[in-house]
């Protein structure tokens, strides 16, 4: 959690220094959600999330250097500088992205759960034993594709936990102004024949405890669950949000329940000292500073990179571009890894 916090603070700084472009949505305040939920999974369990995704990537084990370089648009990024802040992908860690269209990643999550179950049961003839976590925000609860996906998950008995990170605001619109039954969104799960559970996402111990039970249950039953994860985003929706839609008093109230301080207090009763806390703080600062330096040193992709990874095949200036650099790029073969049918499975 402290790594994510420090990472996000440095992102804000880098964004203000214009070192990061392409928008930036920071996770400050919600750290316990990614950490508590992802800790309850195994590495083989797929994860898909929306655009506020740096926390999930780090919690899933992405090297902060690669995460930071991606935002800086550098070759060292997790997608070699082609995805950016909203598109954190990590194949080795089964992170199937950050996605930029609100709610549209939930059908993907349902498809991932369908795939693991199909592979475990139909191809391998065993029992479904992986659980997909599909994250969305409370604003996404009003997107049609989410409801299509929830219906499919319920209908097909898919092993997916749909986690609504309910920070109370879809950008600048509070949940009560934008969503029916906003005070109790778990009620929506019942309509899709799935269990709905409310979890405190500001207390990482509680989040983990609740999620561990749910993940274990879904692994056993292969039935979907919907989670209303109560949390609060301390900063604006994005970096340019004046936050006129909420009061400073409200923000201060939630800041009292900062998940890092909550955990610190819990640990102090077990002998955790302030020096230890400061030690961790020093470590994460050094790590994130190193990530920023590493990102800045990583090269910017060449223009010739534009035609790479559009298709598997070599792809070129279809429309007859006369830019010699682009033509040069097109002549280079595509370096995507060949697809091995079996190795390609999750």
């Amino acid at each position: 959690m402290m790594l994510i916090r420090e990472f996000e603070l440095r992102c804000m700084q880098a964004y203000q220094d214009k070192k990061i472009g392409g928008f930036c949505h920071v996770y400050i305040g919600q750290e316990a959600v990614a950490v508590g939920t992802i800790a309850a999974t195994e590495a083989k369990d797929p994860i898909v999330t929306a655009y506020r995704d740096h926390g999930h990537a780090l919690a899933r084990g992405m090297d902060p250097k690669h995460c930071m370089a991606e935002m800086f648009g550098r070759i060292g990024g997790c997608a070699k500088g082609k995805g950016g802040s909203m598109h954190m992908f990590d194949r080795a860690n089964n992170l199937f992205g950050g996605h930029g269209i609100v709610g549209a990643q939930i059908p993907l999550g349902v498809g991932l759960a369908f795939a693991t179950k199909y592979e475990d049961e139909v191809i391998n003839g065993g029992k479904s034993n992986r659980v997909t976590l599909a994250f969305l925000g409370d604003g996404a609860m009003n997107q049609g594709s989410v409801h299509e996906a929830m219906n499919l998950a319920g209908l097909f008995d898919l092993p997916v936990i749909i986690i609504c990170e309910n920070n109370g605001y879809s950008m600048g619109t509070s949940i009560s102004r934008g969503t029916t039954m906003g005070h109790k969104i778990v009620s929506k799960a019942a309509g899709y024949g799935m269990e709905g559970v409310e979890v405190d996402g500001m207390d990482v111990v509680e989040t983990y405890g609740a999620m561990k039970q749910l993940v274990d249950r879904v692994r056993e039953t292969s039935r979907p669950i919907f989670v209303d994860m109560k949390c609060y985003r301390f900063k604006g929706h994005s970096m340019s949000d004046p936050r006129k839609y909420r009061t400073r008093e409200e923000e201060e109230h939630y800041e009292q329940g900062d998940p890092i301080l909550v955990l610190k207090t819990q640990l102090e009763s077990r002998g955790f000292t302030d020096d230890q806390f400061k030690g961790i703080q020093r470590d994460v600062r050094a790590e994130v500073r190193g990530a920023v330096e590493w990102a800045e040193a990583s090269p910017i992709p060449p223009t010739s990179d534009l035609y790479r990874d559009v298709y598997r095949e070599k792809w070129g200036p279809y429309t007859g571009s006369s830019d010699p650099e682009m033509l040069g790029g097109a002549e280079k073969p595509c370096d995507s890894p060949a697809i091995d049918p079996k190795a390609d499975l999750l």
Partner: protein, 322 residues
């Protein structure tokens, strides 16, 4: 060899790929028990079971989104969208996710997905059930757009599409579904995506077309005394520009024929490519024979909307009179 129509050829390709590769599965509205509205998936549910031929709710965005998740996980889903017009609700998933995943992840994740869609008019259906949206999806880099006009091509192209590591929209012209039969090998074979077919050779004029319009072009050419070359693009995007260039440099005249509306249709792209590549070879301006810039009319007028042999012949004669 078997004498098959387009529906049967596609059905055979699906069976053979499913037999061969357990990662291949079909999903869509009524594709299972009912065998699809056009019966293209008939018999597959009984043969492969409900786990591999999956009846879904009527939810196109959900169907395509779920299929993208399946494909990213390494499976080979073949969703069917019941009619061309119903692609609209899935547009977001196709263009925001499927098309972009390879680029966005620098090749770490790919979407080997084949979306089958019956396309076009001529079967007395209303609009939304008779549309030709190939240009819309050809404008989205990252997607391949295929539209066969014959049973033989359909089987070979569908097998290529299923095995392709990138997303393919496979448009099946409804008007051709049961229009004629031809010899289709029972053995598997592939036809490369991105390669056009020269239907008949000629020296005086090139007709470029695709889908059901190819049949109208053939009717027109059969009646003509001129030496006309007909190119069936088969793949709309990426387009076989070499085939067009080679032919037009030889003939010096070109008519492009498609059912989709005129403005911004792929005929405009063909014409622009010819201008860029063959300008000094041209005897006359490129002509387009297309649907009109209107919504597809109700069935009583659909034949007035779609290019027919007489309109094509008119354009051909105009070019010789130029």
């Amino acid at each position: 060899m078997a004498n098959l129509n387009l529906v049967q050829a596609i059905n055979l390709a699906l069976i053979q790929e499913m037999e061969k590769d357990e990662r291949v599965l079909i999903l869509g509205e009524d594709v299972g028990v009912n065998g699809g509205v056009f019966r293209v998936t008939e018999g597959l549910h009984a043969r492969f079971g409900a786990r591999r031929v999956v009846d879904t709710p009527l939810a196109e965005s959900g169907i395509i989104g779920t299929s993208i998740g399946l494909a990213m996980a390494g499976l080979r889903p073949i969703p069917e969208i019941q009619f061309d017009g119903f692609l609209g609700p899935a547009y977001d998933q196709i263009c925001s996710h499927a098309a972009r995943m390879r680029t966005r992840t620098r090749g770490a994740f790919t979407v080997p997905l084949t979306i089958r869609v019956p396309v076009g008019g001529g079967i007395h259906a209303p609009e939304l059930h008779s549309d030709s949206p190939e240009a819309i999806y050809s404008h989205q880099p990252g997607i391949k757009v295929v539209m066969p006009s014959s049973p033989y091509d359909a089987k070979g192209l569908l097998i290529s599409a299923i095995r392709d590591p990138d997303p393919v929209i496979f448009f099946e012209p409804k008007r051709v579904y049961r229009a004629f039969r031809e010899e289709v090998p029972e053995d598997e074979y592939t036809i490369p995506i991105g390669k056009a077919r020269v239907v008949c050779e000629g020296t005086e004029l090139t007709v470029v077309s695709w889908g059901a319009s190819v049949l109208q072009c053939m009717q027109s050419i059969e009646k003509s005394s001129r030496s006309i070359e007909l190119i069936d693009l088969r793949t709309i995007f990426p387009m076989d520009l070499e085939a067009i260039e080679t032919s037009v440099k030889k003939t010096g005249r070109c008519v492009v024929v498609h059912e989709a509306p005129r403005t911004g249709g792929m005929g405009a792209e063909v014409a622009a490519q010819i201008m860029e590549r063959c300008f000094l070879y041209l005897e006359a301006p490129v002509q387009r024979v297309t649907g009109f810039d209107t919504i597809m009319p109700y069935y009583k007028l659909e034949l007035n909307y779609m290019p027919d042999a007489s309109r094509i012949t008119g354009a051909i004669e105009d070019l010789f009179a130029f």
